[in-house]
Amino acid sequence: MTPFDGWTVPVDAGALLGEERAESAGGAVSYPVLSSDGMRGLCECLRSSREALVSRAVRDIAASLGAVGARFGSAGDPLREEALSLLPRTAGVSPPMAELVLDGMARDWTVPRLLEVLEAEFADPCVLDTFQAGAKGSFRALGPPLTLHIGAGTVPGVSVTSLIRALLVKSAVLVKPGLGDVVLPNLYLRGLQEHDPEIAAAAAALYWPGGGSSTSDGEAAALAEADAVIVYGGDDTICDVRSRTPASARIVVYHHRLSLGLVGVEALVCEVMARETVSSVARAVATFDQRGCVSPHLVYVEQGGVVSPAGLAGLLAEALEALERELPSGSTTPEEASAIHQVRGATELRIAAREDVAMYSGGEAQWTVIYEPEPDFKPSCLNRVVRVAPIRSLMEVVPHLASVRRHLQTVAVLGAGEQQAELHEALARAGVLRITGFDDAPWPPPWWHHDGMGPLTTLVRWIDAEG
């Protein structure tokens, strides 16, 4: 199959790319091999186009960005169709999952959602356009001249959201997506070039294999040129990028995150409700094949409902089996498949050792539910491998999260009843960043404080004019 062209640069930067092309491991994506000079030239070109962006009104920018974003959610639009045809082989997701993910992501790229996030972040978004009078003096906010976005590639679409955020604060953008997320930022920028060439002139997407010993000269040049670096990835990647980012550049990190679920007895008061609860849990686990930072690794279930925690594990297995038909799993790498065998095999041994554990699995389908009474948080190997642990009361979960407190992100809660306020406070103190329901867990609202930070305010520089 022809590899996808993993780069989109402004028209006048085309010549900087040179002739040399390489292919990603597996051959799904091809990309130009940039020298440090080529990369510096590209960064310069993006930065100079940013001047026009700064002069545009933020609402006008949002209107253009949203118009292109909406195309990805609009049935029959050629941009959406192309995305849907490319995602399964480039992102390792099944076609129905590609559709679900694109629907969810594209919702956030529409004009109303972009205005919503602007208004949530800035009392008056015009502060991005001109100085605004305050009680004392006036002030204005502006994004960095050039932001470099290094994506993780685990969930397709994340780097489009990242590039939209930067353009909203009038920053020129260079996106280096992760391998699993190359298609959407490129298609988005191709759409933007058609719709609003002036904005598109300040943005580029370019894949290259990044990090560590394979670091290219181009990557070093990009890190040196960027005024801010936004990096998504595992802790090792973050440390590596941080160590190579100049002290004067702002760095915004979205490191490895762990999410979990809590099911209280109030969500298990009758059989019908229990099944509905379980169906929501299964969907939260299966979405993104559990590769999202918002995907639950483990679900704690309160004892005392009509369905016991062990019983819920069985129901969850049935629900995941059913979802396998509606929303099939994507492909796994050999490493991911191996990790699942190790977890399943080790659990089989524990069962043989007569430990109080149970396991349900889909055979060659990846989904696996492990019931175990041991309540300490253990990360999953992902790809729909989820643990269920019993807990006497939801409040008792908190101490078990201590070992992972700096990696905690989303806690999906259902049926907390009267404990809710107290539980939220305890989770906040335990390090949790987001509390939501299972249905919403995969889809944070546009205004969410992503990993505890304002998605736009974390990018901008405030300029105060005193007196």
């Binding site: 490493e335 065998h341 080790a346 060659e364």
Partner: protein, 379 residues
């Protein structure tokens, strides 16, 4: 026959055949016979393994060849205690490193250290020492007294104590600190003596040592016949060198040609090791063409990562070993390493990035990184 007597009989028989050396011919039938008897023994004495095998629909009556014997996942050594025999008779527990927060350590409960020695000595000897009784052993791996739960330290301790291998010196303590002065003196003495040395160390220890010494002003010319055993790899840690770079640096600093540098591949979960047979065969096909070869009492297969069905030679998949030296635990072990069968051995293609860190190399690196911060080892 009692369980203990049964173990002693079979263990003795295995040690006897191991002692014939790694070049002895092992027809498939001979291996099958020992493998099937070992499986029957493990099935009857290890209730956890029996339950695991039954869960997979396998029992000794249903097994026709060694390929049918169920392999436990390497991570099973973290989850349960795998002892085939009386747990009260365990002589030593070896542990995987797992020093990273949140990871559990795998435990290999060894019923009979004699069988471990019977496996490791002829293999080490064939691949690193050959007939040279006067080779002096210099070790960057701590002594077994320093690291009693490291199977690698135990192995080097055995080698050091064995009459055939001459004098041994150790230069790294349990805290990962290198005694630079003593090591430099030992290398200088060796250079002057014309007596070949065998230097053993983890890849990390070797890198840390060269980093610390790297003022550009030193290089030894170790006597002809000197050799090096490197083990452990880098496993994605911060300071990584390609193997080519590491070997080139070692050649430059020590005067040992690449053809005399051997990679050893071992795991706590297996009591037998694999070596690149470059010294043993007297020829080096080049680093990218090298293969790892185990002793004839280990058989290795490559399995499809998704279905776990056996793959034809040449296809990449998960390495799965059957090691008869594991009689006291479980012989069949499914690893997390990707590899490919090459002739009578295999090549490792890298390790799952999602897998937890394992092995001595990483532990040593963490210790050494910590020490270099505290003690300013770097120039």
């Amino acid at each position: 026959m009692s369980q203990a007597a049964e173990f002693a009989d079979l263990s003795g028989e295995l040690a006897g055949v191991f002692s014939k050396g790694v070049d002895a011919s092992w027809p498939e039938m001979a291996f099958d016979d020992l493998a099937l008897r070992s499986f029957a023994y493990q099935f009857s004495t290890n209730p956890v393994y029996q339950g695991f095998a039954r869960g997979r629909g396998v029992s000794p009556e249903a097994v026709g060849s060694w390929q049918d014997i169920p392999a436990v996942p390497a991570s099973g050594f973290k989850a349960v205690r795998l002892v085939s025999g009386d747990p009260g008779s365990v002589e030593r527990v070896f542990r995987t490193s797992g020093t990273t927060v949140g990871t559990e350590r795998g435990e290999h409960h060894v019923l009979d250290l004699e069988l471990y020695r019977a496996s490791l000595l002829p293999n080490f000897s064939a691949n690193l020492v050959l007939g040279d009784a006067d080779v002096r052993l210099l070790s960057l791996i701590p002594t077994p007294a320093e690291l009693p739960d490291s199977s690698l330290s135990y192995m080097i301790g055995c080698v050091a104590n064995h009459d055939a291998f001459g004098r041994a010196e150790f230069f790294v303590d349990a805290g990962g600190r290198i005694d630079h002065l003593a090591l430099r003196n030992a290398l200088a003495r060796a250079e002057a003596s014309e007596e070949p040395v065998l230097l053993v160390g983890t890849a990390f220890a070797l890198v840390h040592w060269m980093d610390a010494m790297d003022d550009g002003a030193w290089a030894f010319r170790l006597p002809a016949g000197s050799r090096l055993m490197e083990t452990g790899g880098f496993k994605g840690r911060s300071r990584t060198l390609s193997r080519k770079e590491l070997y080139a640096a070692l050649t430059q600093r020590l005067g040992v040609p690449t053809g005399m540098i051997v990679n050893e591949y071992g795991m706590t979960e297996l009591l037998s090791q694999f070596y690149e047979p470059v010294i043993r065969e007297g020829s080096d096909p080049g680093l990218t063409e090298r293969r790892l070869v185990g002793p004839p009492w280990v058989r290795t297969r490559v399995l499809d990562p998704v279905t776990l069905s056996p793959l034809p030679d040449g296809s990449p998949g998960l390495l799965c070993h059957l090691d008869l030296a594991n009689l006291g635990s479980v012989c069949g072990v499914l690893t997390e390493d990707m590899g490919v069968i090459v002739d009578d051995g295999f090549r490792v293609l890298g390790r799952s990035t999602t897998a937890e860190p394992r092995g001595c190399s990483l532990a040593m690196d963490e210790l050494m990184s910590a020490t270099s911060l505290n003690h300013e080892v770097r120039p």
